[in-house]
């Protein structure tokens, strides 16, 4: 049963990789504009939960509902379309296309959605300015610092004005100063656009930016606020 008013909710998710269970009856829900930190030790199933919630992978059982959609019942193409239009992603590394400039990277999801190049690049330029990296437009990812790269990645995640942003260890490869700046920008931008943020991390200081924390352990979810 979906908690009332939630934007995205999962119930009884089970997912195993071979004999090893990654999720074992996990439940989850998030409301619009809410930032939820998903915490837990390495190998607890945090990333798997995020991938199931985002429709990147199908759980073995259980349901994921996004608004009126049952994600688990959509085809691969429908889930892909949803990810293009409604979801944004920030990963720890390996997410920017190295051969494209930063501006083109931010414009990429817009262009994949059919926005014309000039329009896409104008919007991308705005986002880069908002993320305080407007000086890196013409540079390639290999030519900028890790912190700048991660801000570009956040700008790209926000470019399509998604309703849910999935961030998997977004500051894992950054020093604390850069990490905090990225998180501040990400969460502020999300709140400004009323986007929900699923923030996977194993660092307590990162979780501090969230409205609510849940812990994944042995494939099960425990809501630190006692709410499912």
């Amino acid at each position: 049963m979906t908690p009332e008013g939630s934007l995205l909710a999962a119930e009884g998710l089970r997912k195993a990789y071979g004999p090893t269970p990654a999720l074992d009856g996990a439940d989850f829900s998030i409301h619009p504009g809410e930032v939820v930190a998903v915490m837990g030790p390495s190998g607890s199933g945090k990333s798997t939960l995020l991938h199931c919630l985002a429709g990147i992978i199908r759980p073995d059982s259980g349901t994921v509902r996004y608004g009126t959609h049952a994600l688990t019942e959509l085809t691969d193409a429908q889930r892909s379309a949803l990810r293009r239009t409604d979801f944004g992603f920030v990963f720890q590394f390996g997410q920017l296309v190295p051969e494209l400039t930063c501006l083109e990277n931010v414009a990429l999801p817009l262009r994949l959605n059919g926005t014309k190049r000039k329009d896409a690049e104008r919007q991308a330029r705005d986002w880069l300015a908002q993320l305080e990296v407007d000086g890196v437009d013409g540079q390639r990812p290999g030519e900028i610092s890790g912190g700048q790269g991660q801000r570009v990645a956040v700008a790209r995640a926000l470019a399509t004005r998604p309703r849910v942003i999935f961030a998997d260890e977004p500051t894992g490869a950054l020093d604390s100063l850069n990490g905090e700046r990225v998180l501040t920008l990400l969460t502020n931008a999300a709140r400004d656009t009323n986007a929900a943020v699923v923030l996977v991390t194993h660092e307590a200081r990162v979780a501090a930016y969230s409205d609510r924390e849940i812990v994944v352990r042995d494939g099960r979810v425990k809501d630190m606020a006692g709410r499912i």
Binding site: S42, G43, S47, H51, A54, I56, I57, A77, R79, S80, A81, L82, R83, R84, T85, F87, F89, F91, Q92, F93, G94, Q95, V97, P98, E99, L100, E104, L108, P109, R111, L112, R117, R140, D168
Partner: protein, 806 residues
């Protein structure tokens, strides 16, 4: 403060660290150890390691096989020529006297529906004649032995006319391999009692000493260009395959550095991995070669068809290939590792981005053109060593120039591309960042295609020259026949038989023989050119000359001197010699005097008729001269036929063979060069296709390798919801751009080189556009082929598993 505690003499200090390990051995032993370690890694490197090893082995195997085939060419030609030399003896230099061990020998070569058939007649003088290779003894009277291919041809139901031509002889055996030039040769040897000293040579042995003609300059250029065009793609393929799985190999090498291996050791270990693949390739190449040569009997190139055992490389060449190919593979690896330093924590690529300079890349084709253009502008002899060197060097430089120019061209073109849809942008940006791997693989296409187009043009131009000549000569449907003549009556019988042959419209012919001036004490006739006497009825004579009037007993002196400055003395009332010397080294024969009738009148030879020049100096009606007095008279007939009558030419040949099987034929009906050139052109086309597929395989390796290195990025793009088709199209553009540029460059270079070569050999420049279009289409097919085969791994790598870090 004492830092070192003193200890009593003799006390053992257990705190002293162990001495450093002995320095590693140096020199060949160390090389061998590191290479062996690399080979062990290659063998135990898991699935990816085995794929890399298999790809390297496949590339090396192809290279080895190509080299072994090329190295077999001299042996093959020697074997082919050697069998011909061992079995032939037409026109023995010093004819032996008749004995128990001599045989009369004549050739009866014929053509059946455009296919040449070698025929030989024998008639032993005694009980112990020699036998040529391939048979224990000569066939008996009315019998013949045939090659297996001719036996099959004779047995075919449609070939009744050929069976009729050889119906005088019964097949009693098959000629063995050593008596045949090749397994598909059509030949027979028959015993004919009709053979006489007039129609055959007397010989006492089979086997003739003669040297094959050396390769002509165009032939040499062809061989060099073929080797360059074939070997370059193979080298490119090896270069591509050794890079497969680089990432994992580099991780392994980094791990070795972490435990103390130095940079040079890691390079040697990497070389060892490649050495393992190349040694396997060496074995595979040997097996490929052995399997490939089994196909030799089914292949005929330029009328050369050989046995598998003939395709054997020389021992030195085989040894060089065995040693040099694995060495080359190791060198390629070492060169590929330039600028890459394996550090304990990973790879450091310390080469700055390559700035591709134009000057030296242009220098190669410019130098090639500079060598060829002067030869094209001022055509001269091309068979001297300098000209051959210029031709070979110029062609090779032009072909290699294409390879050198391509990376620069791709860089420049993709560097200027802007805009376009996302798929296009992803591909263009990727190429802008790193076009090296794709360009490297495509450079093989350019050399192969440029070489193929140039060779094809060379073939087409030469073939067109022959075709034009044959078309001109064969414009009138006619066939000329000549052979030994006995008398006018025999000539008349031949003409009557020919006129009665189906399809024959007209036939004319004369009995002819040589005649010259009588020798005198003050004039040595040894070096005189003989005049020609033609004997025939008035009706026949009128077909070759304008006669004032004619009846039997008339004689005519013509204006038909071949060299108007030479007076042969065949004038009315002159006594001439019917047995003139024949300018050979044989003793001058005894003169046979005969007086030209004083009543002989002047006649004018008909103008050039039917493309045949008439050379008669004296025309006689049959009763003027007893033809038995002529020396080795011959008969020549010209037969016209109706093209619409089926097999008219074969009927004419059958008639001639029935009258005199040793009669020879001269006609432009069948152009043998068409078949020769068609075979070569087909082979080149197939070779180009195979080469392009090989390049395609190299491109797949390079594309999949790139995809593998970017699998995390692909998974991320998938997470964003990127469509599979988007990335599929991007792969297509990424392949298509360098291939299209390579094709354009290859076609330009191939057409330029082909035009130059054709101009140099004095042939018209003709481009076989359908073939050029076909090769371009195959290039396009390679793009689709590579893209199609890259899609499954692309989609596999777009799976979310790539996002997992734990």
């Amino acid at each position: 403060m004492t830092l070192l505690r003193s200890r009593p003499h003799g006390e053992r200090d257990t705190t002293v660290p162990a001495p450093p390990p002995a320095p590693p051995r140096t020199g060949p032993a160390r090389w061998a150890r590191d290479l062996a370690m690399g080979m062990r890694f290659a063998a135990g490197g898991g699935r990816e390691g085995w794929i890399r090893t298999a790809l390297t082995a496949a590339g090396v195997a192809l290279g080895v096989a190509v080299l072994l085939f090329c190295a077999s060419a001299p042996t093959l030609m020697n074997a082919w020529h050697g069998r011909e030399k061992a079995r032939e003896n037409l026109g023995q230099a010093h004819p032996p006297p008749r004995s128990d061990r001599t045989v009369l020998y004549a050739h009866t070569d014929t053509v059946f529906r455009g296919t040449a058939i070698r025929g030989r007649l024998v008639r032993p003088d005694g009980a112990h004649p020699p036998a040529p290779p391939g048979m224990r003894h000569l066939p008996g009277p009315g019998e013949m032995v045939v090659s297996p291919a001719l036996k099959d041809l004779l047995a075919a139901p449609d070939n009744a006319l050929l069976r009729a031509r050889l119906s005088s002889y019964r097949i009693v055996g098959v000629i063995g391999d050593e008596g045949l030039k090749g397994p598909r040769e059509l030949t027979y040897l028959a015993h004919s009692d009709a053979l006489s000293e007039l129609t055959g040579y007397r010989i006492d042995r089979f086997g003739k000493s003669w040297d094959p003609r050396p390769l002509t300059t165009p032939g040499l250029v062809l061989v060099i260009m073929t080797c360059v065009a074939l070997m370059t793609p193979v080298m490119v393929f090896i270069g591509t395959s050794v890079r497969f799985g680089n990432e994992r190999r580099e991780r392994r090498l980094a791990a070795l550095r972490l435990v103390g291996a130095d940079v040079r050791t890691t390079r040697r270990i990497a070389s060892g991995e490649v050495l393992f693949g190349s040694l396997l390739g060496l074995l595979g190449g040997g097996a490929l070669f052995l399997a490939g040569r089994l196909l030799a009997p089914s292949i005929t190139l330029w009328d050369i068809n050989v046995y598998p055992s003939d395709v054997t490389p020389g021992p030195l060449a085989a040894l060089l290939i065995t040693v040099l190919v694995p060495t080359a593979a190791v060198l390629v690896t070492l060169v590929a590792q330039r600028g890459v330093t394996v550090e304990p924590l990973g790879i450091v690529r310390n080469r700055p981005p390559v700035r591709r300079r134009l000057w030296w890349r242009v220098a190669l084709p410019v130098a090639g053109t500079a060598l060829l253009v002067p030869m094209a502008i001022r055509p001269g002899p091309i068979d001297d060593p300098l000209a051959t060197g210029c031709l070979a060097g110029g062609s090779t430089l032009l072909l290699f120039g294409v390879t050198a120019l391509l990376p620069w061209l791709v860089d420049r073109v993709v560097g200027r591309l802007r805009g376009g849809p996302v798929t296009w942008q992803l591909a263009v940006r990727r190429l802008q960042l790193s076009s090296g791997p794709a360009t490297r693989a495509v450079s093989g296409i350019t050399v192969a295609l440029a070489g193929a187009v140039a060779i094809h043009m060379l073939m087409t131009g030469s073939q067109a020259g022959y075709a034009a000549a044959y078309a001109e000569s064969g414009r009138v449907p006619q066939i000329s026949l000549w052979g030994n003549g006995a008398s006018w009556q025999q000539t008349e019988r031949l003409l009557s038989a020919l006129r009665a042959t189906p399809g024959v419209t007209t036939a004319r012919g004369l009995l002819d023989a040589n005649a010259g001036r009588m020798p005198t004490p003050d004039h040595d006739t040894d070096r005189d050119l003989p005049g020609i006497i033609g004997v025939g009825t008035c009706a026949e004579l009128r077909k070759v000359a304008h006669l004032p009037s004619c009846r039997d007993g008339d004689a005519f002196v013509t204006d038909g001197h071949r060299d108007s400055g030479t007076e042969r003395g065949l004038t009315p009332g002159a006594t001439i010699n019917l047995n003139p010397p024949d300018a050979s080294d044989e003793p001058v024969p005894a003169p046979r005097p005969w007086t030209v009738p004083p009543s002989a009148r002047a006649a004018q030879l008909a103008p050039l008729q039917d493309g045949h020049r008439l050379y008669y100096d004296l025309l006689l009606t049959p009763s003027v001269l007893d033809t038995n007095r002529l020396t080795r008279p011959s008969v020549e007939a010209l037969v016209r036929f109706d093209r619409d009558t089926p097999d008219a030419v074969e009927h004419i040949r059958n008639t001639a063979a029935r009258i005199d099987p040793t009669m020879m034929e001269g006609s432009s009906i069948d152009n043998p060069h068409d078949r020769q050139y068609d075979g070569i052109r087909t082979t080149i086309f197939i070779g180009a296709v195979v080469t392009l597929l090989l390049i395609g395989a190299g491109l797949i390796i390079s594309t999949v390798e790139q995809l593998y290195e970017r699998r995390r990025l692909l998974s991320t793009l998938d997470a964003y919801g990127t469509r599979r088709a988007t990335l599929g199209w991007s792969v297509l553009w990424q392949t298509a751009l360098p291939v299209a540029l390579g094709l354009a460059l290859a076609l330009s270079c191939g057409l330029a080189l082909g035009s130059l070569l054709l101009t140099i050999i004095g042939s018209d420049v003709i481009v076989d556009w359908p073939v050029v279009a076909g090769m371009t289409a195959i290039g396009g097919g390679v793009i689709l082929f590579v893209t199609a085969l890259s899609l499954p791994p692309l989609w596999r790598m777009m799976r979310p598993e790539g996002l997992r870090t734990e």
